[in-house]
Amino acid sequence: MENLVIAGREFKSRLFLGTGKFNSNILMEQSILASETEMVTVAMKRIDMDNQEDDMLSHIVHPHIQLLPNTSGVRTAEEAVLAAQLAREAFGTNWLKLEIHPDPRYLLPDSIETLKATEELVKLGFVVLPYCQADPVLCKRLEEAGAATVMPLAAPIGTNKGLRTEDFLRIIIEQSNVPVVVDAGIGAPSHAAAAMEMGASACLVNTAIAVAGNPVEMAIAFKEAVVAGRRAYEAGLGSVGVIAEASSPLTAFLG
């Protein structure tokens, strides 16, 4: 299989993992390692004066893993730029998952602020991976603004609904000159495999693994699904027909 290349960095794995919603940091780390992912998201939060929490970072920092800080919690491009600068300082990476979703009910990304922030952050030297609507026109605008990938949603974050935006994802994949990472809403390995068969470059999965009965086993299932889907895409799927076509010889050999 081809490696995935983003901003000059090569990835063998095409599965990105989010770190939210796991029952424990240990379980999160085991799932990350089992998935063989090389890209893991991390959020930021304000800390208390009497901070006593376990440091989650120690569970996700591994030599083979690219940290992908996100801007979750910001509502505008201006806030996103400050969050990005804090993330770069905190984690020592200029890679950024840009996410601007002001509405807490559906967490849908604000396209206008996302485009504005992408333009600004690219100028500031960030490798910007924007979470965005499955809008082919917007995705081209983000690409023109210098986004390193586009990350259109399959369905609202955390819903596990699958590829509800499938028709638009197909157009985005067809038109994009940067990797297309399907992000949000992927709820089952079959959804991830379907996205990869369509030609998506990668999938970002969090909730479906974190809330599974056995997150480590589910991480392995997603790993296998993403590999299977990508391998099928590269192999070239057979065409879909209407009329039956025999796959065995129809000559009458019994006389």
């Binding site: 939210g20 796991f22 991390v42 930021m44 304000r46 400050l82 804090l86 905190a90």
Partner: protein, 66 residues
Amino acid sequence: MTIKVNNEKISVENNATIETIVKQMNLPSFGVAIARNNKMVPRAEWSTTLLQEDDSIVVVKAACGG
């Protein structure tokens, strides 16, 4: 003087720097960043950045998230 740290009012000495308040907070050595009045202050400048009355300091660290 009084400043705010993550929206919580605290009193600090007049010659306090960002480093002064950081020392009270049991911060991990990696994965932390600070903004003063909505502007990021690099770690290298924490010890030389003097606080002023009504400053708003935001201290963030890594958290789980997708």
